[in-house]
Amino acid sequence: MQQGLAEKYELFGCMQCGKCTAGCPVSLRGPLNIRRLIREVMIDRNLEAAARPEFWDCTTCSTCSLRCPRGLEPHELIIGIRGALIEEGRIPATARDALEGVFKHGNPWGRIRSKRSEWAADLGIKDLSKGDKADLLYFVCCAASYDPRVQEVAKALTDSLAKAGVDFGILGNEESCCGSEVRRMGEEGLFEMLVEDNLKLFHERGITKVVTTSPHCYDAFKNKYQDSEIEFQHYTQLVADLISQGQLTFSKELNKVVTYHDPCYLGKQNSIYDEPRYILKSIPGIQFVDFDRCRERSLCCEGGGGRMWVEGTDAGERLSGIRIRDAVEMGVDIVATACPFCLLTLEDAAKTAGLDGKIEIKDIMELVAQAI
């Protein structure tokens, strides 16, 4: 195991209060104990990490970091440990395939680049890779480009932006993975390469403003790319602005009881809690109710930190299952969210629970598009 983790992540500041583990959503159902891990790293420099598959359970939701009274970032320690395993090549095969997919094809599903913008084929969207110019780049994201379910979100967003008169375009088949999950899986070298390539492409195409489907892309761009010439927004920020400025108006009612599931990368990690709720409450007819565990206390869906490609060791009930159960008890018709991974994991949980058709999982953007 790599030396110096304790110094790198300032673990000597830890007083073992255990707030990290108490808040950790995956320790609800598995063996990962982040407080104990911090102690282990401090006293044992030869931590045999490869024999501990639970290090891949962490969704890097960052609840531990949010709650740490000493301001440490325990979830970054997990990323650091994964980084050391990556350099030894000893990682789960599915994580390996996802990383190789990003390297070879620019997306973690290993899908071919020439089909990246197929979803937009007949939609008449400007393609900046073909020389079109626009004020705003819509950064689609790998999930929204290739996953048929998430493509619906991309279509709802582009349709709504067009109706609001926003001048936007996409990067077509030139778009590559933002690398958010690549970094969270510990592949720092590949992440640096993606940052360099993506920023070069953005600058070449004269892009100064970017909006993303995914909180994961948004988080990576805003907090890790940190390019002073480009403004990054998550779509909920942009759409909330469009509604409040009267550029986006609704003509239909949506008479449903709706709750909102806070994506960790949007809420806990970027403090965007109000805009999604503002959008939902603006849609005529919607009766909005919040989960008990909402905002900073929101329960992670387990789709982050590379978990879309790693099953995890935990045997207990999936957190997305707990989330759906809570939603059913609240009597809601729709669970809305604003993240492709949350959308997919929650929808899977609803199907697994046999609630398909009884409760709907929707991206906020789909509800907006329905009500315009």
Binding site: H105, R113, S114, G189
Partner: protein, 263 residues
């Protein structure tokens, strides 16, 4: 345990639209993404695992132009100690037998206990380089190998047969094995790992260095020649299954059962 692994750089065509070039004998490289042949990835991993267990060296060998150095760098990052690239414009058009001849010249004077190739390459799929190489070297060989154990100067290897059967054969060393996918779980090769391998020396050798003439290689030195490449004709046997998921899955299960798919 000194091991030579033969690797090939191939296009990933799993989802790509393959376009046949005007000459009707090659495929247009176009936007195709190239990487190490899938079988060779397992062969390199197996060689490195044996080195980690028994000591020794791993030498990666490939044949091709400058771009194939990427494949060798990947081998370095996996754990190979040396790399040799065989390159000459005269090699163009070589079939499996001619390629085996070229590799034979490069490896015959090396000290080796084992030579690994992938069972086949995902582009032309001949699966012949390994056996022909063994024949030229005068060593025994085993193909479609799914397990390698070394004891008392001999190898005991498992070979995959049809119908889910395996056979175990004992092979004296040195020997040539063609490695099947699934023999191990190839490690992840990180970008840092590949970058660290960027400075490592790759030996190169051409026609004259290998003591060959233009008659020995390329089309002239080959026993087979590709006459024409074409896409398989579309047949009319496909059945589109209609109905609800329940009906469709019942029908699908019935078809699989009728064709002997469940045993």
């Amino acid at each position: 345990m000194d091991i030579v692994v033969c690797v090939k750089r191939v296009p990933d065509t799993s989802e790509a639209d393959v376009i046949i070039a005007k000459d009707e004998r090659t495929v247009e490289a176009g936007d195709l993404v190239f990487d190490i042949n899938e079988w060779d990835k397992y062969a390199v991993e197996e060689a490195v695992l044996l080195k980690e267990k028994y000591g020794g060296t791993v030498t990666a060998v490939t044949l091709g132009p400058d771009e194939t150095e990427d494949t060798l760098r990947r081998c370095f990052a996996t754990g190979a100690d040396k790399a040799i690239r065989l390159t000459d414009s005269a090699f163009e058009g070589s079939d499996a037998a001619a390629i085996a001849k070229i590799i034979h010249q490069a490896v015959k004077d090396l000290k080796f206990d084992l030579i690994f190739t992938g069972t086949q390459a995902s582009d032309d799929g001949y699966g012949q380089v390994g056996p022909v190489l063994a024949s030229l070297l005068g060593t025994p060989h085993a193909s479609v190998v799914t397990q390698v154990d070394i004891a008392d100067g001999k190898a005991r290897v498992q070979r995959e047969l049809e119908g889910g059967l395996s056979e175990v054969v004992e092979v004296p060393l040195p020997a040539v094995f063609t490695i099947q996918t699934g023999i191990n779980e190839p490690r992840y090769v990180s970008i840092m790992g590949v970058r660290k391998a960027a400075g490592k020396e790759i030996e190169t050798a051409g026609l004259a260095d290998l003591g060959l003439t233009a008659e020995d290689v390329g089309e002239k030195g080959s026993m087979t020649k590709v006459e024409r490449l074409f896409l398989p004709p579309v047949t009319k046997e496909a059945e589109i299954i209609q109905g609800s998921p329940d009906e469709a899955s019942t029908r699908l299960a019935q078809i699989i059962k009728d064709k002997g798919g469940f045993s």
